[in-house]
């Protein structure tokens, strides 16, 4: 398998492209989590209009392919606001993932025992206070498995940024495969990098579950 030399010789390219992928992943994950939390809280609020807005956002953004959301973010928003492909990718992927995060976070919060809400109310806590101190910390524990597996999906979705010209791992590998005429080696190497990254994420689940475990 002497042909795999090409991978070693291209390691700098792989490293740079992977770094772009990691940045897009982390930044869009932060965006998705923040927006998803907001949407989940809106969905549980006492105001009908907020609940409706949140449900509509989730319906629309889950009903569209992530690629189409990315197109909105790149061809329309990005074009009008002067965003780079990097910025467009983060906004587009973040918005797409937020709709899923919202559902996961809401399910986690709803899984918290009703008695916790009642005890908080009885002590006179404001809703903002008990959501932050009592409900969300307990909900996180329930969310972890779905949150992690959804984040793995987001990591893989960063490859879509290749379509809008970002030289992240998938797009860069494709260019390299074309220019070196060695698609097997280059694309296999890219696959291995993704596998390592997604497996790492999956394994991190155990760590987070232990971290948020209730002491007993």
């Amino acid at each position: 398998m002497g042909e795999f030399d090409i991978v070693w010789r291209s390691r700098a390219i792989f490293w740079n492209a992977s770094w772009v992928t990691i940045q897009v992943f982390i930044l869009s994950l932060i965006l998705a989590t923040a927006v998803g939390l907001g949407l989940a809280l809106m969905r549980m609020s006492g105001f009908r209009i907020l609940r409706w807005l949140s449900a509509t956002f989730v319906w629309v953004f889950r009903g569209m392919p992530a690629l189409v959301i990315l197109f909105f973010s790149f061809f329309w928003l990005g074009n009008n606001l002067g965003w780079s492909p990097f910025q467009s990718a983060i906004i587009g992927l973040g918005a797409s993932s937020a709709a899923y995060k919202a559902e996961i976070i809401r399910a986690g919060l709803l899984a918290v025992d009703r008695g916790q809400y009642e005890a908080s109310e009885a002590l006179g806590f404001t809703k903002a206070h008990y959501m932050r101190r009592i409900i969300i910390p307990q909900g996180i524990r329930v969310m972890i498995p779905n949150y992690i597996s959804n984040s793995t999906l987001l990591l893989k979705s960063t490859s879509l940024a290749a379509v809008i010209g970002l030289t992240e791992l998938t797009g860069r590998s494709r260019q390299l495969a074309n220019s070196t005429f060695q698609p097997i080696e280059i694309l296999t190497a890219a696959g291995v990098i993704y596998l390592v990254a997604t497996s790492f994420l999956t394994l991190s689940q155990g760590y987070f579950e232990r971290h948020f475990e209730l002491k007993r």
Partner: protein, 218 residues
């Protein structure tokens, strides 16, 4: 925003609908067969089959679909010319390989969910394993399989848009062509979004209908 313009381009985008539907239906057919085989392999008594099914799931779920598509398109023909497929069939192959891994999980969880006592009852009645699977397990499993199966189907429908990158003329590709021709992104994208929303919403209703149809009579 120009609603008249949206109305004008919807028919043009819909020219890609048969291709999108074709990608979707072929991928669903192949991935359901593949997923069922993988699920049975995973539960088989033969260690190598089980190992293969696990490795397959880990591999496919660990890699972006887009990379799988590039692999089928650029790399597989390097192994053998028989793998040289048209863009359409490349997309079908990639989508099927990808969806099968998820459908295998959906099918397996459905089969595992059937109470073990049922197996004992069937055995006590002297049923063969094949008879037991076909007459006892599958009818009960279908009910449990429907929600994740349809969830995967909705994902696959949305992922057909990735065929754009290997120049399959489905709806997303046609839309990008309109965008570059008209120097205008908002209306074409809105039109595309509305069509996808209609399709995925239709599938959600289909899922609800199937769940009703398979509900246990109690």
């Amino acid at each position: 925003m120009d609603l008249g313009f949206i109305a004008d381009i919807v028919p043009e985008i819909l020219e890609g609908l048969p291709t999108t539907i074709g990608l979707f239906l072929w991928s669903m057919l192949l991935s359901t067969v593949g997923g069922l085989l993988l699920a049975l392999a995973r539960m088989s008594a033969v260690g190598a089959l089980r190992w293969f099914a696990v490795a397959y799931g880990w591999l496919i779920r660990g890699i972006p679909l887009l990379l799988i598509m590039f692999y089928v398109f650029f790399a597989l023909p390097e192994f053998s010319r028989t793998f040289l497929l048209s863009p359409f069939w490349t997309a079908v192959a990639a989508l099927s390989l990808w969806t099968a891994a998820y459908q295998a999980e959906a099918i397996r969880s459905g089969i595992l969910a059937v109470d073990n006592g049922q197996y004992e009852a069937a055995e006590a009645l002297g049923m063969t394993r094949a008879h037991y699977m076909r007459r006892i397990v599958l009818p009960q499993s279908v009910r449990i399989i429907v929600p994740p199966f349809m969830g995967n189907a909705i994902n696959t429908l949305k992922q057909t848009s990735l065929a754009t990158v290997i120049t399959v003329p489905e709806m997303a590709l046609i839309t990008t062509r309109i965008i570059s021709r008209e120097f205008n992104a908002l209306e074409p994208l809105l039109a595309l979004a509305i069509i996808y929303l209609a399709l995925t919403t239709l599938l959600v209703f289909g899922q609800a209908g199937l769940e009703r149809a398979f509900r246990l009579k109690v």
